[in-house]
């Protein structure tokens, strides 16, 4: 950094991402509060620990290999050539955005005076990883072992979501080129995949004891602390602001980037390096949140748990195209997503006896899936990238956004990279006898021993006179 303008741009970008990371930490705080509020008293502390420990579990693996996967896999490998080196192999050469710079032994993965961006960008993506794992965490509370959850958290947080991000959330991703995939604020790459993964795990894990009557009727095990749930969801909304900002590049000159001779055009861009504005996405964030809340309040007949969750589902549903939608489009899309997610949740619960304790599959999975599909219709014909607009299935240029491409993209996110891996890993863990806690422990409560020993301690303290 030798000139002031360059230094200002670099330091601004560094600080910008750093702030988004701090804001996004609130998502995790919110998820912790939300899950504890939704769990029963006898499981509180284990529920909290499970979601807390995903922080180190995902962070360390993200450092070791998760970040590398994101930069290595945009080509598939073997599906579409990279625009950087024209090869379909893993991107591990010496090109500018190669994975070779992001191995755990790289000098860029540490304090480096020549690189002010890698660490904050790594952290922004890491916080997305926590979110993906946290979404799964809520669905499976009160009956999974912490060990099994740790393995599942690493799988979704450091492997499968980062593969989908390389494919569909990278300027060089094959899904953009072949399918015209567009998912600016992660309806699919975070939410649909995590919802699908949670569903896959739930299919193997089974319901909590008592969730279904002997005739198969579902019973409501509602949130035990509605205030924790409320504050938790508000914190998730707050963190979601940071997430939206983190999905943008704050300041970028698109003229030279697109090879436009003599043109200078500074703007914010989305993750695909196509232009948008922080101002515009703020309209859309709030309008889709409002659409979700309005629809949720109506369809759940004022139930607070579903109304709050629906606000989130509204944003999630509109997120795929919130870089370009009109605010009223964003609101309507949020409403549609909520109605479908709510109805599907109860249909799946009754039909397949799936016990999704916090509605995570619905709020994230179904709403995300629907959001991707709607985006294909509303943004039909927009370029998925600024680099070279081409036709679907071409592979060497970028297809335009279209309904079929978005539908296939939604299947890839929810089913191929979400549900199937979640199901298989849960099956393996179940086969090892490591997936579910013993029945007796579930009945007594995971915290039984902690509470028992706390009781003895407190008895001793309360009878003390000095």
């Amino acid at each position: 950094m030798t000139d002031q303008l360059g230094a200002l741009t670099t330091i601004f970008t560094e600080f910008y991402y750093w702030v988004t990371v701090v804001l996004m930490f609130l998502i995790h705080v919110g998820f912790c509060m939300y899950e504890v509020g939704a769990s029963r008293y006898k499981h509180h502390q284990h529920t909290l620990m499970k979601n807390t420990m995903l922080i180190p579990l995902v962070t360390v693996t993200w450092f070791f290999f998760g970040w590398w996967i994101y930069w290595a896999f945009p080509t598939g490998p073997g599906i579409a050539p990279s625009i950087m080196n024209e090869s379909t192999a893993l991107i591990t050469d010496e090109s500018a955005f190669s994975a070779t710079w992001y191995t755990a032994t790289s000098e860029l993965m540490a304090v480096n005076l020549g690189d002010h961006i890698s660490g904050v960008f790594w952290a922004a993506f890491l916080l997305f990883s926590w979110t993906a794992a946290s979404i799964v965490s809520g669905a499976i509370i009160e009956r999974i072992t912490t060990f099994a959850f740790g393995i599942l958290a690493i799988a979704i947080g450091s492997v499968f979501w980062t593969i989908d991000a390389a494919w569909g959330w990278h300027f060089d991703g094959w899904m953009l080129k072949i399918l015209g995939y567009h998912d600016a604020y992660a309806s699919g790459v975070i939410h649909a995949i995590a919802g699908g993964f949670a569903l896959g795990v739930l299919m193997v894990l089974g319901p909590r004891i008592g969730k279904f009557s002997s005739s198969g009727e579902p019973r409501n095990i509602g949130p035990r602390n509605p205030w924790l749930v409320t504050v938790g969801l508000f914190l998730i909304y707050t963190g979601f602001w940071g997430f939206y900002a983190a999905c943008n590049i704050p300041i970028f000159d698109l003229g030279p980037e697109y090879g436009m001779e003599g043109v200078t055009y500074w703007t914010a861009t989305n993750i695909y390096v196509t232009p948008t504005t922080l101002s515009g996405i703020t309209f859309n964030f709030l309008m889709s949140l409002s659409g979700g809340l309005l629809a949720g309040y109506w369809i759940a007949k004022g139930d607070p748990f579903w109304t709050y969750s629906s606000g989130l589902a509204g944003v999630i549903c509109a997120s795929a195209g919130n870089d370009l939608y009109h605010p009223i489009q964003a609101m309507i899309i949020g409403m549609i997503g909520v109605v479908i997610a709510y109805k599907l949740h109860y249909w799946v619960e009754r039909k397949f006896k799936i016990d999704d304790a916090v509605g995570a599959v619905a709020v994230h999975g179904y709403a995300g899936f629907v959001g991707l599909v709607i985006c294909g219709f509303v943004l039909n014909g927009y370029p998925s990238s600024g680099y070279s607009v081409g036709a679907m299935w071409d592979g060497t240029t970028y297809a335009t956004i279209n309904p079929l491409g978005q539908f296939l993209g939604a299947i890839i996110m929810f089913v191929v990279l979400g549900l199937i891996p979640g199901y298989i890993i849960a099956k393996v863990l179940n086969g090892m006898g490591k997936l579910r806690i013993p029945r007796e422990v579930e009945i007594a409560g995971l915290d039984y021993e902690m509470m028992e020993s706390a009781k003895e301690d407190e008895k001793a303290v309360s009878s003390a006179t000095r």
Binding site: T105, L113, E449
Partner: protein, 74 residues
Amino acid sequence: MATVSNWIDHLSAEEVAGAIYPGAGSVEGMLVIIGIILWVGWHVLTARSESEELSRLAKKRHSANDHKSNITDW
């Protein structure tokens, strides 16, 4: 281990070396190996203790409401 011993010399070099952590250029591989050992070890230790705790608790056969008796009342 010190990668930088004089900031003036370091920053006035023709090409400023970016990596400034201790042992830059030589310790990275070893650090990753240590990290992996710590990582795997943590999983083994915690998985074992969780299994022991769950089987100990499972043997006691508590009822679904037993936990209510150990909620402290002050």
